[in-house]
């Protein structure tokens, strides 16, 4: 059943004198596809960086599965089960597609330096599991045939897919997607929606995404929060957001009000 997975409680973030986020609160339930929209500079990416531990909030608390994760470093938050992708793709570009996914699983493997150096049973077992997961995941997004290609040689859409799969190698319970459809053509966007639905339905992953493509957001998100100048101005279902006067004025414009 639906439970609270991620809870932001009165989060504020200041950079010098600039208040990038102001008292933002919302709750993401398990199995949600939760969208965050808003004009450029509204604080969407800042929000992602707060959740993943790159910044520590100036005020407020972030809870993941009931645990306060305010002060945890990024690598620990990743290991807890929050995977993410980046707005500007950050792949390990001169490494193979397969290696990218294998590195993605780093946070859930434990063998240490000497275990790896001498290839002790534990390290070998983990390596085998990692490779099996990687094969499964790459097959899911049709990239297994290209597993030995350099990540930088993939097409744009493939790189986006690889980044998602890399995040999935952590077996996350929450996946943050930062503008996953940016720069994609309509066909690729359609595929992306398929993948996101698959993640929710087959893999029980909760998804939090930031996106500018309203078609995609309105289609797949069950709940949407709208940010404007660092403040949350609305939250609700796609239908509610589409008809919210303040959201229309500040972001959507009238064209969407059909």
């Amino acid at each position: 059943m639906a439970e609270e997975l991620l809870k932001l409680d009165q989060i504020s973030q200041e950079f010098g004198g600039l208040r990038a986020l102001d008292q933002v609160s919302f709750v993401v339930q398990t199995q949600d596809i939760f969208g965050i929209i808003g004009p450029n500079g509204a604080g969407k990416s800042t929000l992602f960086n707060l959740i993943t531990g790159i910044y520590t909030p100036t005020q407020g608390n972030i809870y993941f599965k009931g645990e306060n994760i305010n002060h945890l470093p990024p690598y620990k938050i990743a290991a807890l089960g929050i995977g993410r992708t980046f707005q500007n793709i950050r792949l390990f570009s001169t490494m193979s597609v397969l290696d990218n996914v294998l590195i993605g699983g780093h946070g859930i493997t434990k063998s240490g330096f000497f275990q790896c150096l001498f290839s002790l049973p534990k390290a070998r077992k983990e390596e085998k599991q990692l490779r099996e997961t990687a094969k499964e995941l790459l097959n899911m997004v049709d990239l297994y045939d290209k597993k030995m290609d350099y990540a930088k040689n993939l097409s744009y859409g493939e790189q986006r897919r690889l980044e998602i799969v890399r995040a999935l190698a952590l077996h996350p319970s929450l996946l943050l997607l930062d503008e996953p459809a940016a720069g994609m053509n309509p066909k690729e966007k359609e595929d992306l929606m398929q993948i996101i639905r698959h993640l929710k339905q087959e893999m029980n992953i909760t998804i939090l995404l930031v996106e500018h493509d309203m078609n995609l957001v309105m289609n797949i998100c069950e709940r949407i929060a709208v940010l404007n100048y660092g403040e949350k101005i609305a939250e609700g279902s796609a239908e509610e957001i589409r008809n919210n006067q303040e959201v229309i004025d500040s972001y959507l414009g009238t064209a969407h009000r059909i």
């Binding site: 570009s93 780093h106 946070g107």
Partner: protein
């Protein structure tokens, strides 16, 4: 063992082969921290120096057996790597390079004034225990372990830190710990190489481990290809032999050496074997072979 080699190798060739082995151990350390993890280390000679002096002093004053002296030298260097690694690995790029140069100089000046190390005169009469077979046995072990490491989660994570630190953190990689591991192991290898060096050359002085030595070792890794094991081996072989071959041009030696580096860097900016994967080589070769069999 070495008596067998000396039957068909003259002393000069044996000396070069031993030096290649020692340089390889040193360069593999730099490859680990700079080539794989991407942290520019220009102070490797400092660790080499610590290892060389520690092991030499142990052998001379405490009469410890060769293996123990060597081990103590390497561990001391490794400990220094760990201790200074913690604060300085917060820096990156040029800043880290500056600090490591500083460290190298501090170590040099320290030994210049260090009474048990013979001050500026250095130490002489160190037992010449380093043999060709022993050096190369160590080289093979280290190469093998390094190869293993490259194919494990830790090795991959090191490459990931070099490629993109933010993405690496998002994958659950504790980047600062990984950098410290790489730095410590590199320092250990530096100390090991230093110990082998002092027990081969049998005379050491602080001038042997100047900043120039660090650059020379770094050059070998850069020339071969950062992060590439076969590249590092090739780079070390070329740059250890080059000064010997270039003896014919006498005082123009350094000119040739410099020119060679410039030309190589223009045509192969990633180093000779940088970015070359065994997988691609195999693919290409296989394709060529199947083509010729088809035609035949």
């Amino acid at each position: 063992m070495d008596s067998i080699f000396s039957q068909f190798l003259d002393a000069y060739t044996m000396r070069i082969i031993i030096l290649i082995g020692i340089n390889l151990i040193l360069a593999l350390g730099i490859n680990l921290v700079t080539g794989m993890t991407g942290q520019l280390n220009m102070g490797h000679a400092g660790f080499m120096s610590i290892g060389a002096y520690t092991s030499a002093i142990c052998s001379l004053n405490l009469d410890t057996p060769f293996l123990l002296s060597l081990f103590l030298g390497a561990v001391t260097a490794g400990a220094f790597g760990f201790i200074i690694g913690i604060p300085i690995l917060r820096l990156d790029g040029d800043y880290l390079a500056m600090v490591t140069i500083g460290f190298c100089e501090i170590v040099r000046v320290f030994f210049l004034n260090f009474e048990p190390g013979g001050k500026a005169v250095g130490l002489s009469g160190i037992p010449q225990d380093t043999t060709l077979s022993f050096v190369w046995l160590l080289v093979l072990i280290i190469l093998f372990l390094n190869y293993r490491l490259n194919r494990s989660r830790i090795g991959r994570a090191m490459f990931a830190v070099k490629e993109n630190e933010i993405a690496a953190e998002a994958c659950g990689i504790h980047t600062s710990r990984l950098k410290i591991i790489a730095f410590t192991v590199a320092a250990f290898l530096g100390g090991l190489g230093g110990g082998l060096y002092s027990h081969y050359i049998f005379y050491i002085s602080p001038q042997d481990f100047s900043f120039t030595k660090s650059i020379e070792l770094l050059n070998m890794v850069v020339l071969g290809g950062m992060g590439s094991l076969p590249g590092t081996v090739l780079g070390v072989i070329i740059l250890t032999i080059a000064p010997e071959v270039l003896r014919v041009v006498a005082e123009y030696r350094l000119l040739f050496y410099g020119g060679l580096m410039v030309i190589l860097m223009i045509f192969r900016p990633n180093g000779l074997l940088g970015g070359v994967r065994w997988y691609d080589v195999k693919q290409k070769w296989f394709k060529m072979k199947s083509k010729t069999t088809k035609e035949g």
